[in-house]
C-alpha cells in the first residue's frame, strides 16, 4: 500500500519544528509501524537527508522507549499496544498518517519525535522505591502477601514508563504514571513504612516538574499500553491526602 506521512521534524530543542510530508510506497501490511519508519529512514539517509529520529529499543512492547502520537492518539489506534507492536495491517492504501512527539512541557522535544522523559526518573527518585540495601533482606517467605494484593500490585507494576498517559492527558498530568508506582508499592506489606512519605514526595515532585493536575478524564488509562487502571489514581489521592493530614 501507499501512504502519506506527515512527520514532525524538529532539528533540536531550539528549532521551531514543522510537519513534513513524505510519500511512502509499497508498505507491506506485515510491517510494524517502526519498520515502516525504518524503511523511510533508509531512503532518507541514501538521499543525503536527515533520517527521522525516534526513540525505540526492545520493539516488543516492554521497554517503554517508543513514543509517538499517531493521528492524535498516543501509540496509535490499537488498544493496549505500544507503537512498536502496532502493525501496518491496520491501515489502508492511500491513508495519511500524522506522527508527532509527545507534547508536554515536562517532556521537551530533543529532536523530531524524541522527547526528554527524565522527569519520570526524577519522580521515581523522589520516592518510588523501598529502601532496602542489598544483603539486608529477610527471608522472602518471612512476610506472606495475600494473593489478591500481590496481583493488584502487579497490575500497577506493569507500567512501562512510556509517557503515553501524559501525552494523552489534556492537562499534561503524570498522575497515572505516579499513581501506578504508589499503588504497586503501597499494596505490599514491604512498602508500608514509606507509604505516606512516598506519596507526598512523588506527588509534589510531579507538580515540581510542571505536570498538570488530574481532572479524571480517563484519557490516560484509555491509551495506556498496559491498561493501568484509573483506581490507582484514587489510591494515590487517598495516600497523599492521608499523609498530608498527618504531617500538616
Amino acid at each position: 500500500m501507499n501512504l502519506t506521512l506527515k512527520v514532525w521534524r524538529q532539528s533540536g530543542p531550539d528549532d521551531d519544528g514543522r510537519l513534513v510530508r513524505y510519500e511512502i510506497e509499497d508498505v507491506s501490511p506485515d510491517m510494524s509501524f517502526l519498520e515502516m519508519l525504518d524503511v523511510l529512514n533508509e531512503r532518507l539517509i541514501l538521499a543525503g537527508d536527515d533520517p527521522v529520529a525516534f526513540d525505540h529499543d526492545c520493539r516488543e512492547g516492554i521497554c517503554g522507549m517508543c513514543s509517538m502520537m499517531i493521528d492524535g492518539v498516543a501509540h496509535g489506534p490499537q488498544k493496549n499496544t505500544t507503537t512498536c507492536q502496532l502493525h501496518m495491517r491496520h491501515y489502508n492504501d492511500g491513508d495519511t498518517i500524522v506522527i508527532e512527539p509527545w507534547r508536554a512541557r515536562p517532556f521537551p522535544v530533543v529532536k523530531d519525535l524524541v522527547v526528554d522523559r527524565s522527569a519520570f526518573d526524577r519522580i521515581i527518585q523522589a520516592g518510588g522505591f523501598i529502601s532496602v540495601p542489598a544483603g539486608s533482606a529477610p527471608d522472602a517467605h518471612a512476610t506472606p502477601v495475600p494473593k489478591l494484593d500481590a496481583d493488584s500490585a502487579f497490575d500497577a507494576a506493569t507500567c512501562i514508563g512510556c509517557g503515553a498517559c501524559v501525552a494523552a492527558c489534556p492537562n499534561g498530568s503524570a498522575s497515572l504514571f505516579t499513581a501506578a508506582k504508589i499503588t504497586h508499592l503501597g499494596l505490599l506489606p514491604q512498602g508500608q513504612p514509606e507509604r505516606g512519605s512516598r506519596a507526598r514526595a512523588m506527588v509534589e515532585q510531579m507538580d515540581e516538574e510542571g505536570f498538570g493536575g488530574c481532572t479524571n478524564t480517563g484519557e490516560c488509562t484509555a491509551v495506556c499500553p498496559k491498561g493501568i487502571p484509573l483506581d490507582t489514581i484514587a489510591r494515590m489521592n487517598a495516600d497523599y491526602l492521608r499523609a498530608s493530614r498527618k504531617s500538616g
Binding site: S28, D30, S32, D38, N41, E42, L44, I45, L46, D49, D50, P51, A53, D57, C58, R59, E60, I62, C63, G64, M65, Q85, H87, R89, V110, K111, V114, R117, S118, D121, I124, Q125, G128, F129, I130, V132, P133, A134, G135, S136, A137, P138, A140, H141, T143, P144, V145, P146, K147, A150, D151, F154, A157, T158, G161, H184, L185, L188, Q190, G191
Partner: protein, 641 residues
Amino acid sequence: MNYREGAPIKDTKAPEGPIEDRWEKRKFSARLVNPANKRKINVIVVGTGLAGGSAAATLGELGYKVKSFCYQDSPRRAHSIAAQGGINAAKNYRGDGDSIYRLFYDTVKGGDFRARESNVYRLAQVSVNIIDQAVAQGVPFAREYGGLLDTRSFGGAQVSRTFYARGQTGQQLLLGAYSALERQIAAGTVEMHTRHEMLELIVSDGRARGVVVRDMVTGEVETHLADAVVLATGGYGNVFFLSTNAKGCNTTAIWRAHQKGAVFANPCYTQIHPTCIPVSGDYQSKLTLMSESLRNDGRVWVPVKAGDPRPVAEIPEDERDYYLERIYPAFGNLVPRDIASRAAKNVCDEGRGVGPGGLGVYLDFADAIARLGRDAVEKKYGNLFEMYERITGEDPYTQPMRIYPAVHYTMGGLWVDYDLQSSIPGLFVIGEANFSDHGANRLGASALMQGLADGYFVLPTTIGDYLADAHRFDAIDDQQVAEAEIAVKNRIEKLLSVNGTRTADSFHRELGKLMWDYCGMERTEEGLRKALERIPELRAEFWRDVKVSGVNEELNQALERAGRVADFFDLAELMCLDALHRTESCGGHFRAESQDADGEALRDDEHFAYVAAWESTPEGPVLHKEDLEYEYVKMTQRSYK
C-alpha cells in the same frame, strides 16, 4: 585469519578447598575499604540492566562515588526488561528435593561442561539471596493463595525452582534494580548519565581508569575517569542483525575493552531460542520471542512432503510429520532449546518449512484445545496468543502458530576471574557481558539469576579487594586519556567522511545473514572458512561505501548505528575463528563434523575442555586456554532420546 596459541590463562582468585566454602572464604579474604576512603573512590558502571543497575545501586549504597551510563533515555529501559520466563533460585520452598548443590549440578550439566565449577556453585548459593532482596524491594512475584511465593519448573528442570511474575519477570526485577538505583541517584551517591554511549576504555599504567563516551544528544565526546570500570553492557546477539535483543544492543563497549587488552572468552557460544515468531519480510527489524512454555501443550510439525503448498486444513494427519515426537520419543516437544532449534533448521533445510521463505514450522494447539478446551488454553497462554496475533495477524486458536529459532543469548563474553575482574586490572565485567557461569549453553531462567547475583552480591564484595589499593594507584597518564579521546573522534570523523552509497543497516543485514548461515545453529569448517573470507571483504566495503548522514554534533541515530556495525564486523570474525578452532560440538555450538550416529552433538572433552580466551594483538588473535577441571560433577554426554 590466523591465530597463535599463547600461554594458558588461569583464575587465581577462587580459593582452594571444599566448593561450598569457597565463596565464604573469598568474602573473608577480600580486603575491605575504609568507609571514609570509599567516598574518595570513583567507580564507573556502564549499562543499567539487571547486572549494571543492581551493581551501581549497591556500590552507591556502600559509599563509593559511582557514575552510571546507559544509551537509553532512562536506566529502566535496559533489555533485561524483556525477559519473560523467570528466575531460578535454590530456595527449595517446595521441598521437592532442590538444593544449592542441585542447582549447581544442573547448571554445570546444562552448560555442557564448559563452565567453571567454583563460579557456578557461588551463583547457586547467591541465588537464594536474590529472591529475598527482590521481595524486600517490592517485586510482585506470583503468589499462591496462602500468600507464599509460587514457583514453577522451567526449561526441563525436574524441580520447581523458577520464581516468576507472570510473563514479565525481567521487567519486574529490572524495575526493582532501577528503583534502588534511582534511590541512590537521589541520595547523590550515583551520578546518572543517560543517552551516553561508551566508545573507548581508558587504560593507564595497565589499569582500567576510565571511559570515553559520546553524549548522544549533543554529540560531545566526554572523558570520565575513575578507579575502576565495570562493564555491564549485555550480550552481542545483534551481530546476527535479527535476534531477540533490543535494537540498541551492541558489542561496542566490550569490544573496545577487548581491543585494549581484555581477553574475550568463548565468543562462538550463542544460544538459539527455538520458539520465536518467524521473519515475515526483508524489512524485518527484530525477532520476537514466544515463551518456551508453549511447547508444553503445542505440537511441532511440518508437512511430510517438501514444498507442500496446501493450507493446514487440507493436510491430512498422516501427511504431517511431528518430527520432535518422532525423533525424540522420550522428551518429544520438550527437548532442550538447542535440539529443538536444530531440528527445525533441519526440516526447513529439507524444504519442508512453512510460511514466507519456508523458514518456519508449525506449533499446533488443535489437540490441546480439543483436550483441554479453548478456555483452558486461553487461560494458560492467552497473552502469548494475543501477542502472536498482534504481530502476525493470524489467530492461533484456529490455525497453528508458525515458529522459527532465533538468536537469543550469548554465553561468550569478556573473560573474568572468580572476582569478575577481566584480564585488565580494574576492569570488571558482569552479567551477559562476561562469559562466566553458563558454559556453552544457558539454562532457562538463569540469565536473570546471574545478572543480579553479579550486581547485588558478587561484584560489590570482590571489587573492594581491588579498590583497597586505590590510594596507591599512579596518577592517570594524560597521554593515554588524550589518545583514547582522539581515537574516538577520529573514528566518528571517519564514519561521517566515507559518504558512500549503502546504509549501515544494509551492511548489518548482510553481515547478519552471513553469520546466521555460517555461524548460526549449525557450523561447518567449510562455512566458517567462507565466512572468514567474506567478513573482511564486507568490512572493507563498509569502510569504503557506508553512508552516514548528518553531523556528530546532534542526535544522530545513523551515526550511532554505523559505529556499532563497525565493531560487529570485528567481533563476527573472532566468533567465526573461535567456532572454527573448536572442532567439537558443545551446547550452543554445533559443529556438523562432530555428531554421533543419531545426529546429536558430540563433545570432545579430551581436547576441548577449556575456555578459549582470545587476546587481541597487532599480529592477530592469540588464544589462551583456561583448562576446566571437574571435581564435583562428572562429565557425561547429554541424551534426550
